[in-house]
Amino acid sequence: MITYSFLQHYWWFIISLLGGILVFLLFVQGANTMIFSLGKTSEERRLVINSTGRKWEFTFTTLVTFGGAFFASFPLFYSTSFGGAYWLWMIILFSFVIQAVSYEFQNKIGNFLGPRTFQICLVINGIVGPLLLGGAVATFFDGSNFTVDKMNIANSFQPVISRWANASCGLDALLDIYNVIFGIAVLFLARVLGLLYMTNNIDDDSLRQRMRRSLIWNSAAFLVFFLIFFVHVLVKDGYAYYSDGVIVMEPMKYLHNLFANPFVLILLLAGVVSLLAGIIMTIVKSGFIKGIWLSGFGTVMAVTAIFLMAGWNNTAYYPSNVDLQSSLTIANSCSSEFTLRTMAVVSLLVPFVLAYIYYAWRSIDSKKLDRQELKGGDIY
């Protein structure tokens, strides 16, 4: 029996999965942060750019789809977070706009701004995108400063239902040290995935050697920041709600969520093991280049599980620190049953979409990128 509650949980799962895929695809941004540090010559920099340049649309499209799916399934989040945390989201979007054009424009004749301008744009997006997206996701656990009152619709003076409680327009999220720590963890994860992806995608011995060395300290940094945040989440009070919809603080709520739902726990553990296996095997086995797949699947699983921890098991996924009862849950912020049901049918297309992406990706990547290919015409 497909109930309204089931559909709410299903759609939170889809959002979580899209979030997982988006974080995995941030390997594009992670790799771009290393354009200048990895690429010692202009040829090497072009290898890095051409490698990520064939995948950037996937990250971009997943971000758009993530936003669209959130809008369709949980419109109150879209309304509250985007309208309230205005500057946080605008900076993220701005960085993605300058990224999108940078590949196509940088090495074209007629680019009067010069290639370096657009390479710097790629680096900015590489740092800002994962850092702020990570910071935004961390607010799912640490809360934000907003209020929601749907009755305002009937108030002709001030009809806006969602308000940010201060004038920071969302930048106050960066005053919480744990949000920043998680943002940095996501940035280093993106760099790790970027290194693993390029190790697989670029057929160049000297770059691969450098990438392996870089992988060690980037992985260490990721683990340190991630573990600090994760332990903080497990021991902190969480935002729980019960059948009457009243939201209360519950000690170690997120730890309880893991044990209350073995599926989420197993998904998280499997994801972490797979992520680490990809990293370790790439570091210790010199000819091993498939780490991106192991770590990529691991990232999707682990991030999906983290999102599920935030939203399932009667947990407010977008908590308000200034008015607890304004906190958003999958029950009070979702679309109608009819819309969720209709969209659930549409979501059945996702496996088909994934299948053709896989097929097209394989066709393009059947031959690895090398210095020879840079001499051909079909490059950035």
């Binding site: 669209g68 749907k150 009937a154 108030n155 679309s335 079909d378």
Partner: protein, 520 residues
Amino acid sequence: MNHLLLEIAPSVVDWSRAQFALTAAYHWLFVPLTLGLAVIMGIAETIYYRTGQLSWRDTARFWEKLFGINFAIGVATGIILEFEFGTNWSNYSWFVGDIFGAPLAIEGIVAFFMESTFVAVMFFGWKKVSRGFHLASTWLTGLGATISAWWILVANAWMQYPIGQQFNPDTMRFEMSSFADVALSPFAVDKFLHTVTSSWLIGAVFCVAVSCWYLLKGRETVMARRSIKIGASVGLFAALAAFATGDNSAYMVARTQPMKLAAMEALYNGGKSQSLTLFAAVNPFAQPDYASQKEPACRIAFPNLLSVLATHDLNGYVPGINDIINGYTDNEGQRQPSLAEKVDMGKKAIDAVALYRTMGNKSEKTRRTVADNVKYFGYGYVKDASRTVPPIGITFWLFRTMVGLGTFFMLFFAVVLFVVFRKDISERKFRWLHILALIAIPLAWICSESGWMVAEIGRQPWTIQDMLPTWVAVSDLQPRSIMITFFLFLALFTTLLAVEISILCKQIKKGPEHSNNDTL
């Protein structure tokens, strides 16, 4: 928690509108070229696939290269628009997100992934995949962009003609009641056909103009002639189709947004057997005194044509602005309420919703009061009749600009098509046509942007027709924040546009690459 004393500043609404208009206008500089060139390059590559001639491959690759330069910036400006619904129109996002969010999500799942997957194959796959797979990828890239247009136009059409929804006082929002009504709304179908065919027209103008530039320079004659054949054929078809769908658009606007049609025509006082204005002295920069004037000065008009356009009847009744404000009986004999009556019904709906929520009075009677009056929910927020009238002058002139240029393009493509198939278009005696084609480039964009502005300015003040005015749809932001992002986007998009034009010009100057036999 209520905020009775903190009124939304009017400048928040103005800056939010300005920012959305800016990003939409820039987005629409790039997207129609993407949609139009997709058809041109698809046809060229199909001919290469069928004939195996390398010169056709060069032609296809040349147009694909120009497509690629334009593609990314269209994508980049699009992401801002999607998220602006949340950042700048947060109340809107909640109030109608249950309906509006679905097309956006489907657009992402169905169209964007198709577009982004196959565009990579198209650009980088010439030596990596088979000819058939590459051709399929080229068409699928265009198809993805076109499906994307479908869903976003479904969303836009719903804002102009809301259908398939009901108000739920428990959740304080509109909710979808029929997906088929939303997705297959006749307004959406027509809007899609009109918008996509007008985009093909832009692609065709661009293709013909670039080719004519080569003819002026005496270069790339073979590629230019064959590209003009494709471009002019697509262009004439697109211009005729845009004319037909435009006619249908006017018919539907008359039925669903009579105030927009009245503004487009500067029709202050309507009636039966209305004539279509060819020219009138309407000031584009100031709202005319429609309440006391009979009609604009110096009006030259075609008798009965507006009635035909709006009702498909020579003597059909078309309401003017004052009729809509005062109430009238429409062409089907139905009485349409006056503005005062609509405001009254809107207020009744809002009060009933408040009663339903705050007093716990969830009786069937209260629910029915909401349902009976919700059609005019937005009018409950209207305090001044003048706020329900869109800017007349600018709507009037933009409509004429669009129709005038659309007519010009029909003639232009007919002439080009005749010359390219019956004469040698590369001869010097057709230099005038080559120059005309170059002049047509900016005209095509002016035509297309004018069409969008008529559609969007003409429906003011509504974000959702009759249900949600702009000043109730906004986010609670400081005007300063929106002003800063407005100028940031203005600077960024203008710079990127300048870079794109510079790159396109250099790429065109460089010309296509010519294959040798051994490169197949």
